[in-house]
Amino acid sequence: MNEAQHRFRLFQWYFNSKKNSMPKTQAVKAINESWKALNLLEEGQMALAQGRVREASGLFNSTYSGVQSALNVLHARGTSVARNQGYAQTIAWIKQILSNYYYQFQMLYKFYTEFHGYSVDMLKDALRHIGVMSNYVSMAARDEVTKPSEALARYELALANLMEAILYINQTAEREKYIKIKV
């Protein structure tokens, strides 16, 4: 039951984030699929409450597949949008992500160096990755118009290095016992 409910929540989340940008017919189709799944979920919950465990289990499995169908309706849109919009849109998107994460890096760096007094040496690995990130960004910017697929790959590598830098800062904070990442 939990798994079925979980997947239903996932559908709702996807749907809410996309409902204003998708064609109405597609939204209706996705909603119809999800209604069928919701009915199955409710029937399953009722069967479970009445002790009909085997039947409930079957209904939860059907719920799971039903939500999957609804998700597929949304997913089909997401994938084709990404493909059709082409590189320009994707590059614009990844540049925005890069910019936001770079801001996050700056804030983290400031917090640990200025507030907690971490030395530059402690965070040198992070800074090394920021250097590599800058190189990839320069290369990507140069190729953005003429070789967009290569530019995109380089922006992703830039993002990879930025994330590495953030990871190093957080690992340092963990080593210093400031944060504990629960496992």
Binding site: R83, Q96, N100, Y103, F111
Partner: protein
């Protein structure tokens, strides 16, 4: 009346953490959407990340309640939990994207930290 120095420090630290956590949360949502729309998002990963975000949001709420009662130490601890949860979600979301698997240290970090925990949805 101004806050005592130690309390002021804790209040400042809390503001920093709150700001960082909120920034992470926003970034995580954005990159999640990017992965999903570009067709690389595995549903298992998506569900797991959503759970982490929702868990972090609860930690933030608890922290806000502690802050309102002027219990800055407790508020910081709750915010640190949210922060750590988001780091975990962020790292996993990030390395779950296939083309980026060549980033060795991120892989190792994830291997060491989460492989056992993530079990069946771990794609590496």
């Amino acid at each position: 009346m101004p806050l005592p120095v130690l309390t002021k420090l804790k209040a400042d630290e809390l503001q920093w953490l709150k700001f960082l956590t909120q920034t992470m949360m926003n970034n995580l949502r954005q990159v999640f959407e990017y992965h999903r729309a570009s067709g690389h998002m595995d549903l298992g990963v998506a569900m797991w990340v959503m759970d982490q975000v929702s868990s972090a949001a609860k930690d933030i709420e608890r922290s806000d309640r502690q802050e309102k009662s002027n219990r800055y130490g407790a508020a910081i601890n709750e915010m640190k939990d949210a922060y750590a949860t988001l780091i975990r979600a962020e790292s996993y979301l990030y390395v779950s994207r296939t083309p980026l698997w060549n980033i060795e240290s991120a892989k190792q970090f994830m291997d060491r930290k989460y492989r056992r925990y993530l079990g069946h949805i771990y794609t590496g």
